[in-house]
Each structure stands twice: as C-alpha cells, then as structure tokens.
Symmetry: C2
Subunit: 319 residues, 2 copies
C-alpha cells in the first residue's frame, strides 16, 4: 500500500462528523480550531548527527508549518516523547530548546506523555485558531497564479550532504563558498522556518484561493493541491526561485539542483494560489513571494510544457 | 532523572498561559476543552503477541481514560502512526478496529500523520469537552472517602502471564478455572475499558472532589492524587475490591495478588474522592463504586496503618 492508499482507506473508515475539514488537508478544522499532528522518529526523520536542540525545534516547526498552511494562529500543543537512554543526559537542552522555540512562536506546550524508547520519538499535536477562515488545498481556480513563498532546493541539498558526511559540519578542506553553501543548506534542513506569519496574512486576504506547505516536495505537494482543487497546473522552470548558490556550489558538491528544487521535501515553504499579480501581492504582504506558474483546467502538472510527475517523498513507496 | 523530575523540569520550562489546567493532571484544560496525548510503542507498551485489533483499540482507550479522569465528553482525536514492515499487511484490520472503537465512544478521528518506522508507534491526541467543570486531581479534602471504580489486579496479572507465555492464549493443559482467569486477566490488560460514562457522571456531581485514572498503579496514582490535593490517605486492604479469582487461580498461577492490586498499572479504573457514603454514591451513579479508605490531613499514604510507598511503574526509574 502506498501512503496515498492508506490515507484513502483511513478516509473511508473514519467518519468526519465533527470536522469542518477532516483528513486530507494540512490540518483538520473543527469550527474555528485547527489541529494537526506530526511525529519525528530517530533514524527515519533525523539522526544523532543533528544537535538535540535542533531536533526539539524541528519537531514543533513541522507542526507550525501545518498550522501556517491553514492560515491559523498558533494556540497550544501537547507533546508525546519516547526517550532513549542516550538522550537522558541531553534532555535538559532538548526541552529548553523546545520551550524557547514555543515561546518564539507564541504557542503553549500544555501537556504530554513520557515513555522510555529505544529511539527518540517526538509526536506533537498543535492547535491553532482561524480568525476569518482556514486556507484549504481545495480552492484553486484555473487561471490563478501559483506562488511559492521562498527559494527552494536547500533542504534536499542539506539532506544529501548530511547523509554523505554524517555531520552537520562541512569538511574543513572544502573551498570557502562550498563550505558556506553546505552549512546554510544543512541549517535549512535541520532548522526549518515555518511560514506562520505569512500563513496568517494569506488567510486574511480573500484573494488567496488555496494553500499547502511543501513538506513532500514541490512536485508532490503541487499534485496534492491540484487533486484537492480539481485543477491542473503549468509551471515555468526559470521562474522557480532557487536557494542561493545551489546552482554553483551545490552543483560543484554533486547536488542535482533540478531534482532538489522540484522534488526535495522538508522545505516548509508555502505553495498557494491567487488571481493577484506578483508585484501587487508582494506589496500587500510586505515581502517577496514568487509566481512560478498558473493553475489550469487541464488535469496534471506540466513544467515548460512537459508532464511533471510527483517525485517527492512517499513514506511508503519502497515496500 | 526520574519521570517525576523530568515532568517537574517541563513544568518549570513551559509557561502555561493558555491553560486553565496545564501539565500535571491527567489532561490539560483550556476553557471548556480538554486535551490529552498518549503514545504506545511496540516492545515498550505491547508486543507482537497482542492482536493488532487490540493494539488499535488500546491506543485510543488510554486517551479516553485520561478524558474520563477529567470528566470530559470525548470529541475528536488525531493519530500519528509509525508503521513497521510487519504491519503493512495487517494495517486494514488495525485501522478498522480503531475506527469501530472510536465510533463506539463517539469520538471522531479527524487527522493524522503516517511514517515508516522499525517498530509500531501510535501517538494519539484526544480532545473532549467539560459541560460543568473538569475533575481534577487537586480537590480532595481530609475526611473525604476514597473510591475506586472497579476491582483491581487483573491488568498486572495479565501482564505477568502474557510476558510468561508470550501468547494471549493460556496453555491448554491448565486447569479450567486457571485458564478462564488467565484469559480474563490478559483480556483486561490488552482491552482496557476506559470509564468514560462514569467520568462524565462524576463531573456532574458537585460532591466529587477529585479524580485520577489508575494508569501507574493504585499506590502511585494515589500518591499523585494526595500530592496534588495536599493531603494524605488511609486505605484498608480488605476494602479494596479484587478482580474475581485473582486470589484463587491467580495465586495458583504464581501471581503476587497483593502487589498486583496495590501496584499494578494499566488498570484504567478511576480513583476519586467524595464526602458521600458508598451506598448513596452507588445509588446516585446507578452502579457500584468502592470506598477503600479516607483522605487524611497527615501526608503520606497508609494501608492498615502502615506506610504504602508508590510501587507502580515509573518509566524512568531503572536507569
């Protein structure tokens, strides 16, 4: 079974009576409340090469990104922790980083559950509130512009380099520019920045028709957006903003920049649609956002006229 | 660090602004909403000897029991699943059992997260609503009667037998009574019944002063109740209701019945306090509940005059 098939089965089995928006968006919505859950598991989602402080922050960041994709204001969260022997001495910096990060995003951690485990497991459930309306995956219209909130490709590059070096420190004998690029890319991977403020601002703009966060990769998440909206999309390769120096130093380091940009997961940028023009929308938001194409009535995703299949991460694809 | 020390550290680090009741009770309370999270991990909380249907139901039951302890009406839940290879073929019965159980308790599963994992991990966050007030651990007064909602000792006996036999089926050469007892005890362990209806009824009775569910064992959870209420407690051994045939067949099977009753975890019975008399309270509730002692102004827990230390399960006690 693929992840999609399992989700389909869950959708069939679980009635969604209480939910305004149930299974199948970035988060569920019940009245004005948004609720989302994400679990990070050692050796699946991170390794011990990553500092415990970064793991703590990222475990909350991935949930905040789901709230951001719904345009929700963070409210509170609960944390279930599976704590392995190796973390017992590092638990204080881990908890402190998590607490500081929660404070930074104004979300309260109000409950939890502790277990012993062989590997570190962090399952966080975060709630938020929508003031006007939730942003959904399902509202895009053919002709809408398709936007991405920031340059892409760093997280996939960071993952490849971290996997290669098994350390967050680039080798000291690398040329300076490559070392700088590598450090930034790895930082982007292990310290993702959820677009919480942007999501709230987008929900306030009635002209925004749909939104999703890029957790599985641009190609995969754009397919999700298109499937939910019943549309297709046409994107232009040269309009997609690329993480600084990915083409230069990234390529020199052996990164496939095209794949990193189009298919790389864990970006936590927002992907959203609106009829508004780029300059007008950027002005309204007071920050740059990038129009990379348009929604189309013809199903499927095309890049420069060629079909773009979902190439991102499916947790269950390789059986 | 013990579990208690880690929880203390979390309480120091995490401000509880949004919460009416934050870290330290069975669930957190924000306004009228109650929220709780619990994670079950393969080879920590269960083994593959347990049918996947039972694992699915129990993963929700432990959360429902926390809602019950707060007197909350179940509302909705989200599920984070770490799915190992071995479950891929059994995922449908697992999901179906979870869905049926959710329907039985009128709680909607409205969202989730799927990961691949080496071991099965189920982290559920459940929410509920309190109509009048939440039941807390902290309201017991000296002189209040201490109640338990049903006979104790089966879960610990079931755990010991399941660990011994590595199967939920008792050996066929056991005497009939022992086989029956063993099957019931194992069933109680793997199919716990959360006291959801009772919890809601208790919250509606203003005479109920405090409540907790017995997840870590009577002795440990009674200490939690006393600590939160600033009281002690005196219990009488002969008044504690004992699971049928634990003293007979259980003892014959080598179970330490006294330890099972006093210290056995995973009971998911409710432990609560009220000035009301047992006959009056049972009549009001329309079901038996059992007065096992009284709350005292002198700190500490005593059984028949002797100190009773917390003997239940501390997830972090053995470092």
């Amino acid at each position: 079974m693929t992840e999609k098939e399992i989700i389909e089965r869950i959708r069939e089995l679980f009635p969604q009576r209480a939910a305004t928006v149930g299974i199948g968006d970035d988060a569920a919505v019940v009245g004005e409340q948004v609720i989302t859950t994400d679990m990070l598991i050692e050796d699946v989602d991170f390794t011990r090469a990553v500092p415990v402080e970064s793991i703590g922050r990222k475990s909350l960041a991935v949930n905040l990104s789901d709230l951001a994709a719904m345009g929700a204001i963070p409210a509170y969260a609960v944390v279930a922790l599976g704590i392995p022997e190796w973390l017992m001495n590092g638990i204080d910096p881990f908890l402190r980083a998590l607490a500081d990060y929660a404070r930074q995003y104004d979300i309260d951690l109000i409950g939890g559950d502790l277990s012993r485990a062989e590997k570190l497991i962090i399952a966080i459930t975060a709630t938020g509130w929508v003031e006007s309306r939730p942003l959904l995956r399902s509202g895009a219209h053919p002709g809408d512009r398709l936007y991405v909130s920031r340059p892409l490709g760093a997280a996939a590059a960071g993952l490849e380099l971290l996997t290669r070096w098994k350390s967050i420190e680039p080798p000291s004998d690398l040329p300076y520019a490559q070392r700088e690029f590598a450090a930034s890319a790895i930082r982007r991977l292990i310290e993702p920045e959820p677009e919480v403020k942007l999501g709230i601002a987008l929900a306030d703009l009635v002209q925004i028709t749909s939104c999703i966060d890029i957790s599985d990769g641009l190609s995969t998440d754009l397919h999700h957006l298109c499937d939910a909206s019943g549309t297709g999309a046409e994107i232009e390769r040269q309009r997609i903003p690329v993480f600084p120096d990915l083409l230069g130093s990234g390529t020199a380091l052996g990164i496939d920049a095209r794949a990193a940009v189009l298919h790389g997961g864990e970006e936590y940028a927002l992907l959203f649609t609106s009829a508004m023009r780029e300059s007008e929308l950027s002005t309204r938001l007071g920050r740059p956002v990038y129009a990379i194409g348009k929604m189309a009535s013809e199903k499927g995703v095309r890049i420069d006229g060629q079909a773009l299949e979902p190439g991102g991460f499916d947790h269950f694809a390789v059986k």
